[in-house]
């Protein structure tokens, strides 16, 4: 996996109401575990969405394995999965198993293969007993596990997670953290739960739309704490 940002900026709106949320970002990411931290509105979620092609830079170029997110978003999304903060917005199908299978609806895989993959993920994430249950009746932690399973079923190479633990209690946040730690995929995790980043390879700190620190977890988190204490 190689993510490269070359003078990337993003501005919402035009004219006097325009708001620049990302400014002249230059970056190269190759590590398997990268954390992204920053205060609300610092530009971290915008950057995360750019990797999946959900948001296109208004200036500069962002590439994933050489593919531009501006012109090859559909291709990139086959390799980059995205997990949102609120699983309720991500769960599409009424029942748990159906939602996991949804990602494979166009895969042309035989039904047995789809069922096998779905069953494996249900088992892996402790949702096997809930396969036919209404997804909206799961607990918050289970919903986020379902959202994660629904993305992983397509076997992406990279997983971008935008504050997946923000709505969860400490126990469920820990469970999600353990699941993320065990993933084979490369992970870019945007989070306010700083302890989840302890074993990461690298942490980026965003402030006012700029990358202000890019270091090991210990150093970057220390910098971020200092920044937020002001």
């Amino acid at each position: 996996m190689l993510i490269e940002a070359d003078h990337v900026s993003h501005t919402y709106g035009q004219g006097p109401t325009a708001r620049t949320v990302l400014q002249d970002l230059n970056l190269r990411i190759e590590e398997r575990r990268v954390g992204i931290v920053g205060h609300n509105g610092s530009g971290k979620s915008t950057f995360a969405r750019m990797i999946n092609g959900l948001i296109v830079p208004t200036a500069g170029t962002l590439t994933v394995d050489g593919l531009s997110t501006a012109s090859k978003a559909k291709e990139i999304r086959k390799h980059v999965g995205f997990v949102f903060t609120d699983p309720d917005n991500q769960i599409i199908m009424p029942t748990v198993a159906e939602d996991i299978a949804f990602g494979l609806r166009r895969s042309k895989l035989p039904k047995e293969v789809v069922a096998r993959r779905v069953d494996a993920l249900l088992e892996r994430f402790g949702l096997a007993g809930h396969a036919d249950h209404p997804a909206h009746l799961l607990s918050g932690g289970q919903k986020q596990l379902l959202a994660l399973a629904s993305v992983l079923v397509t076997e992406p190479d990279i997983l971008v997670m935008d504050e997946p633990t923000t709505l969860l209690d400490l126990r469920n946040a820990r469970i999600i953290g353990e699941v993320v730690a065990g993933l084979d995929q490369s992970v870019l995790l945007v989070t306010h739960h700083l302890n989840l980043l302890d074993d990461f390879d690298r942490v980026l700190v965003f402030d006012e739309g700029r990358l202000v620190a890019d270091d090991s977890p210990a150093a970057a988190v220390a910098y971020y704490r200092e920044l937020m204490a002001v």
Binding site: R49, F82, I92, E98
Partner: protein, 202 residues
């Protein structure tokens, strides 16, 4: 508040095993035939048969009542009007037919996973592709419609709670405005998630 209206209940009964297309077709036939129901005893007999079908499907009385409960006011008004206008026999036919159709539709959704129902609709709409109809997109719309019922119900409950907490009483504006704003915001977020899950790439 969590809505459980008309959601699939796993099982192995003959109704669970029956093809989704056949069940939908039966529902359409029953709906069309219902306009010819004129005898009160026939309507009640059909409801009794349907309740028997629920028993065969392993669905209990509480779930059955949950399907009909939202209609109680409508049924009461309809029945009262017809008793006054045309007599109890006609009132039984009209109100009974509504109950019959709702129970029949609920039996289909309770014994059929949404995916299979949507697949059946997509298959039926297949021939319309030549006229530019996208059956998959319509299937997705149906799925999202079903999925959004409990979401909007939860939103409404949250807004109502906030309304009570802030002492805005029964103001419909204080209820409708935040509900619509939040529903639109959630719809936006769901649209983004659909794109992220590759829906726009079909």
């Amino acid at each position: 508040m969590q809505s459980t209206l008309g959601l699939y209940q796993p099982g192995t009964s003959v109704f669970h095993r029956a093809p989704a297309g056949a069940k939908l077709l039966a529902l359409v036939v029953l709906g069309a035939a219902s306009v010819f129901l004129t005898y009160w005893w026939l309507v009640l007999g059909l409801i009794a048969v349907l309740l028997g079908a629920y028993t065969v499907a392993g669905i209990g009385p509480r779930t059955i009542l949950r399907q009909v409960r939202p209609l109680l006011w409508l049924l009461a008004f309809t029945a009262a009007y017809h008793v006054w206008a045309t007599g109890w026999q006609r009132a039984t036919v009209v109100a009974g037919t509504i109950v019959l159709l709702v129970l029949a539709a609920a039996l289909v959704t309770l014994t059929t996973p949404t995916t299979r129902l949507v697949d059946a609709v997509v298959r039926v709409l297949g021939p319309f592709r030549r006229w530019g109809v996208d059956p998959d997109r319509i299937g997705l719309l149906l799925t999202l419609g079903i999925r959004c019922v409990p979401l909007v119900a939860d939103l409404a409950a949250q807004v109502r709670e906030a309304q009570i907490a802030r002492g805005t009483g029964t103001s419909w504006k204080a209820f409708a405005v935040p509900l619509i704003v939040r529903a639109l915001r959630d719809a936006d977020a769901m649209g983004e998630a659909l794109v992220a899950r590759g829906v726009d790439d079909d």
